[in-house]
């Protein structure tokens, strides 16, 4: 089911990237970012109703129920990185619009 969500997110993101309107790019990138993060999360193998990845003092007891912790760390990193990039991209779009006065990408040849 989550795969469908991922698929939809990718499709919508790409659709946005292919628009001529400048603002859609940022939406597309946000969608793609979410889709990719979900992809990492999903493909790593989900354990339904998984426990948070915290260890009690007796690590052995809770271990089987833990959801995979590494992808979570990866996603965390990825989220923050994409935030930085998105912030930059937003500013770039804003500046481009200011300098060129265009919002139609096709006119920004």
């Amino acid at each position: 089911m989550l795969s469908i969500v991922i698929g939809v997110l990718y499709a919508v993101g790409i659709f946005f990237l292919l628009r001529r309107s400048m603002v859609r790019i940022i939406l597309g990138v946000l969608f793609l970012g979410n889709a990719t993060n979900l992809l990492i999360f999903v493909t790593a193998g989900l354990k339904a109703n998984g426990q948070p990845s915290f260890l009690a003092k007796t690590a052995e007891a809770t271990k089987p129920a833990l959801s995979d912790s590494l992808p979570q760390a990866l996603i965390l990193t990825a989220i923050v990185i994409s935030f930085g990039v998105v912030a930059y991209l937003l500013t770039l779009l804003r500046k481009t619009h200011e300098v060129t006065g265009e919002s139609d990408l096709d006119r920004l040849k």
Partner: protein
């Protein structure tokens, strides 16, 4: 030793800059270099002491070594290169006197000489290729010596492009042969000749190499660069375009003769193209009016004769080829120099403007007459010997002899006509239109042609004593098991002599009726040869560039979204290809247990995504949708127990929303630009790609790897890393470097935003 000599020659190309002060004698000073080298190489004496092999490792890994191999053939070429070199430098001393940048000229001429020496003495074929390209490059610089003239630039470009097509193709050919033999040494190649010719790739290699030799030696249909290269200063024409560089192709063919000589392709292609070039060159020479172009075309013609002779590949033909090579170098070098003298002294090279130079320039007249006689093949000059041998060799060929003989005779007739006509027009007719009053030529300029002409005479009268041993040892290099051939000026009254006489007679006859014949040939030329190869060459280049311009406009159109569509299109194709390929191999499918909470979240996300699609969308709804999706994704994380992730997602999402709130009002509203068709197309593409990603996600989610490295983290997070929150431990300890990189990204991004917003435009 040989390496030292060639390095010396290369380094010597810096010398002219040292002699810059010696304005009057620069050429003479530079001429010392070839003189020294000639002395050195003469002392090697391959005629009596046999072949010389010198080996220096360079890149044994690639089979590329600085190995030299000097046999009789190389020696002959070396003497030619250096001997002509002396004359040319001496000549240039006078000719180049008044030009600025002549140090550069001498320098490149010396570099060229060094490259040429290397080319003929290289034992490693890749080394030969290196020198081959060096000759092309240095000749490019020499042809475009008058680089501010467009004609010079174009001609140089043409020459370099044509010869470099050939260069690349011989490189290809060499590498193919090299991979058959496992070595690039010419000796190994000759030793393994049968292995090479029996390989199925040898034909391809041979054709490539022949192509290379043809471009360099100006064979039809690549002949046209040579006449155009006449824009070069005359010493260059005399040196490169008569005696040395254009002979490099001939040299290469002679070198490879022992290997490919017996093959059918060799014996078919070379005589065919050689004879065509022979005839066409000679004919084109008749209809030209510029002295240098006339000589250029006769050069083309002679090169054709050489290639034809090499292709016949009998003992006699090789002997003829070598003889003719020598003959041609002597008279053609002299002729170019003389043309240069006339050009300098009278101010034009047009034979229809020149005339009656017999009186004001007696010495030049004498020399030129002598040399032209040699070109016409009249005894006792050496040209006669050359011509005799060509007939002798052509007659002996089985099957195609009649054709070759016809071509040869016709070619030679035109040659005779040209010689007579030029001599008459320039020196002996009465009327003239001189741009300036002719003066006598200086000693420096007359020195070269004089000696060369005397050599023609001397070698013709006494071939046995002067050139026989050198030719003999050169022949042995190509035809190891051949019988000794004597060269005599007079060898009885036979068919060959008859042909010679007939040729001269026919030529003279045509000359007698020059008022009819020459104009006839000119009109004939204009009617028949409407295709000018050279113009065609440039128009092809122009068209090629325009085509590329169009292609560049089509491919690199500047529309970002089409670039992206291309990227996604290819990505989809690749991914779907893989999905289809691996469809059968998936293992048992496990369904993830459904939960209604999850289902609701998923529905929300999908719903929001679709809500965002309409083209016109208020800013508020955009922000709401983005925020909503972000929070829903966070909910999914939470559902699966990834608390840290969920919190971060929520926070980052909130910040993104704040950013959007700040920036969106500054950006234009969302409006539709594309028409319905574009929307449909993009939707299809997006769906195709999205579904591929979905399937991949599904497949890999249901087939997770058995043991993952994250097990380790769960085990040791507390015990060694002292942390219960595994995610955090991974972030700051196990994979701390990632985090370090990540905050660097953040800092750099903030710098970027700073530069974008703070820097005012200049």
């Amino acid at each position: 030793m040989i390496l030292t000599a060639i390095l010396f020659a290369i380094l010597a190309s810096c010398l002219p800059f040292l002699f810059m002060k010696a304005k009057r004698t620069q050429g003479w000073l530079v001429a010392i270099v070839p003189a020294l080298l000639l002395f050195g190489f003469l002392s090697l004496d391959t005629v009596n002491q046999g072949n010389i092999v010198e080996q220096n490792n360079w890149l044994p890994l690639l089979g590329l070594n600085i190995n030299f191999y000097i046999d009789g053939l190389s020696s002959l070429f070396i003497y030619l290169i250096l001997g002509m070199g002396i004359f040319v430098f001496a000549y240039a001393n006078g000719y180049m006197k008044s030009y600025p940048g002549k140090s550069r000229f001498y320098s490149f001429l010396l570099l060229f000489m060094a490259a040429m020496l290397g080319l003929v003495s290289a034992g490693n074929m890749i080394l030969l290729f290196i020198f081959w390209e060096l000759t092309s490059v240095s000749s490019f610089m020499l042809i475009s010596f008058f680089h501010d003239k467009e004609g010079a630039r174009k001609a140089a470009l043409q020459a370099l492009l044509i010869t470099s097509i050939g260069g690349l193709s011989i490189l290809g050919g060499f590498i193919i042969i090299g991979s058959i033999v496992g070595s690039y040494e010419i000796q190994d190649w000759i030793a393994q000749a049968s292995l090479i010719t029996s390989s199925k790739y040898s034909t391809a290699a041979l054709i490539l190499i022949i192509l290379g030799a043809f471009t360099k030696s100006a064979q039809f249909p690549f002949h046209f660069w040579l006449p155009n290269a006449m824009v070069a200063p005359t010493p260059v024409s005399a040196y490169l375009h008569s005696a040395t560089m254009v002979k490099a192709g001939v040299f290469l063919l002679m070198r490879l003769g022992p290997i490919f000589g017996p093959t059918d392709i060799w014996q078919f292609v070379l005589p065919l193209f050689g004879s065509i070039t022979f005839l066409l060159g000679a004919f084109f020479a008749v209809v030209q009016s510029d002295l240098k172009r006339i000589f250029a075309y006769t050069t083309v013609s002679s090169l054709g004769a050489l290639v034809m002779l090499i292709g016949i590949d009998t003992d006699l033909s090789i002997r003829a080829a070598l003889m003719f090579l020598l003959v041609h170098s002597l008279y053609k070098g002299a002729l170019f120099m003389l043309a240069g003298i006339i050009d300098k002294r009278v101010g034009t090279r047009d034979i229809y403007l020149l005339g009656g130079l017999r009186k004001p320039m007696p010495i030049v007249t004498t020399i030129t007459t002598l040399v032209l006689t040699s070109m016409a093949g009249v005894p006792p000059l050496i040209g006669f010997l050359g011509k005799e041998m060509i007939y002798e060799a052509s007659i002996q060929v089985p099957v195609v002899a009649p054709y070759l003989i016809t071509f040869s005779i016709l070619g030679n007739i035109f040659m005779v006509l040209t010689s007579l006509y030029v001599g008459y027009m320039v020196f002996f007719r009465k009327e003239h239109h001189w741009p300036k009053q002719p003066q006598r030529a200086g000693i420096s300029m007359a020195f070269g042609p004089l000696l060369l002409a005397s050599a023609s005479l001397l070698f013709g009268v006494l071939p046995q004593a002067s050139i026989q041993p050198y030719l003999q040892s050169a022949i042995e290099a190509i035809k190891p098991e051949h019988v000794e051939l004597k060269i005599k000026l007079w060898h009885g009254f036979n068919k060959v002599l008859l042909l010679s006489i007939a040729t001269v007679f026919m030529g003279s006859l045509l000359f007698m009726f020059r008022r009819i014949t020459v104009p006839f040939f000119v009109t004939f030329y204009k009617k028949v040869f409407t295709i000018h190869f050279s113009d065609r060459f440039f128009s092809i280049i122009d068209r090629f560039m325009r085509m590329n311009q169009r292609k560049a406009d089509v491919v690199q159109h500047g529309y970002q979204r089409r670039y992206l569509s291309t990227i996604f299109l290819f990505a989809s194709i690749l991914l779907w290809y893989i999905i289809v390929q691996t469809w059968g191999s998936r293992s048992a499918v496990q369904y993830d247990s459904l939960s209604w909470v999850l289902a609701v979240i998923c529905l929300i996300i999908v719903g929001l995504s679709f809500m965002s699609l309409p083209a016109r969308l208020g800013r508020v709804s955009v922000i709401t949708i983005i925020g909503g999706i972000g929070y829903s994704v966070a909910a999914i994380y939470l559902f699966y127990g990834a608390i840290d992730l969920a919190i971060t997602q929520i926070l980052v999402d909130s910040l993104t929303v704040i950013l959007l709130v700040l920036v969106l009002p500054k950006l234009p509203r969302l409006v539709a630009f594309t028409n319905a068709r574009g929307v449909v197309r993009d939707m299809v593409l997006a769906t195709v790609f999205g579904s591929a990603m979905g399937i991949i996600a599904y497949t890999s989610a249901t087939n997770p790897a058995a043991n993952k490295i994250s097990d380790f983290f769960e085990e040791f997070s507390l015990s060694i890393a002292h942390g219960k929150n595994i995610v955090n431990v991974i972030l700051v300890d196990f994979r701390g470097i990632d985090t370090l990189g990540e905050i660097t990204v953040l800092v750099l991004a903030s710098l970027g935003i700073y530069t974008l917003l703070k820097f005012k435009q200049s």
